[in-house]
């Protein structure tokens, strides 16, 4: 069984859990207590040198970076659950394009907004509203491009759902719920896509805890 070292509400841990649900892969969540600094302890850092969650131990094979873990699990179990990464070279290239879009044209802006508005208050810190405004101003035209792309095809890489779509869910859901729903809902095709992916049973199973 895959051992998933992380914590239940962690965005990146839930991405791995989501992929496990999509692919019917059994996993055991082994909680890492960030408040106690467990992620900086030598035993943890020996496996994840950046001191970040999650990492997996798959029968002794240690892997970190949630998107890398996701890709590894998807490729290991091609015949279970949804395909999630195409094998045809052209479709695969378009998947890689979509995966890169997620990292650099979405999460790059959404994650720091979520950090300011959701994580900072939890840590007793004030959100930097100037930074939130700046990030949001950069995000808006990106989402206009998303809306255009999604007006022509069902998902980001084409007409089949891929890991690239799913990778938006953890931070996207936190963003949506932090008062930014209108940012998605005001764009009809983006809204349609968001409703689709955020209602997948695999996401509903883990969205409130890996």
């Amino acid at each position: 069984m895959v051992k998933l070292y992380g914590f239940a509400s962690s965005t990146c841990t839930r991405l791995v859990a989501l992929v496990c649900k999509e692919k019917d892969i059994s996993y055991e969540l082994i909680p890492v207590n960030l408040a106690k600094g467990e992620h900086k302890h030598p035993g943890f850092v020996a496996n994840q040198p950046f001191g970040q969650v999650p990492y997996i131990d798959d029968d002794g094979f240690i892997l970190y970076e949630s998107r890398a873990i996701a890709r590894y699990l998807i490729k290991k179990y091609p015949n279970q659950g949804a395909p999630l990464i195409p094998s045809d070279p052209k479709a695969e290239a378009l998947f890689e394009q979509a995966a890169s879009i997620e990292s650099f044209n979405f999460t790059a802006f959404v994650a720091p907004i979520v950090a300011e508005r959701v994580f900072n208050p939890r840590r007793g810190l004030q959100p930097n509203e100037e930074r939130v405004s700046e990030l949001l101003a950069n995000l808006q035209p990106k989402l206009d491009a998303y809306d255009l792309i999604l007006s022509k095809q069902k998902y980001l890489a084409g007409d089949s759902v891929t890991l690239a779509d799913l990778a938006h869910l953890p931070y996207g859901t936190a963003f949506y719920g932090a008062g930014f729903a209108e940012v998605f809902e005001s764009r009809p095709h983006l809204a349609r896509w968001w409703k689709d992916i955020s209602n997948r049973p695999a996401w509903l199973a883990v969205k409130d805890g890996a």
């Binding site: 290991k76 890689e96 890169s100």
Partner: protein, 210 residues
Amino acid sequence: MVLKLYGFATSTCTLRVAVVLKEKNVQFEFIPVDLTKGAHKAPEFTAYQPFGQVPYIDDNGLILYESRAICRYIAAKYASHGTPLLPTDPTAIALFEQAASTETSNYDPFVSGLAWELKFAMWFGGKTDEARAKSLQSQLSAKLDIYDLILGKQKYLAGNDITLADLFHLPYGAVLLDIGLDEFSSRPNVARWWKDISSRASWEAVKGGI
């Protein structure tokens, strides 16, 4: 028909693609997009690249954007040409993906942010946010301490063979060195690795501009 690379001669992301084309000995035609004239926001451009960013390629009618996606496509299509840049063994692939994701999350946000604050912001009439630059440098420094640990145990980021993940670091690394921000030399293993990847013929061929 030869592969067409649409970009800006000195753009970091355009150079990221160019270095891989050189490593794989792939012929290409470079078609300059004049960012200073806003060519990347013109309809003729955004019809192909909806985010209005460089580069994109036209490989016999296949349009692809996002530099890392383009690099992956070229490395896979021309697997048997030039230097192997993508592993084929599943474990090695997973460790490559871990390294590629490390570049995306634990390097790029800091180096691109610093490049913006210390160089590019001024091109667009902005100015350096000193506090932000200081914060980014401090974060980058901490990440590179980890890189130094990893690279003390293996030659390259994904193991003992060079992969795309190493090359992805070149463009922004070079920009920072060029403006006098050297976080590499003081870390012996990072310095060794940086010297190795930045002295490759492929990088020498394009680093000054296509």
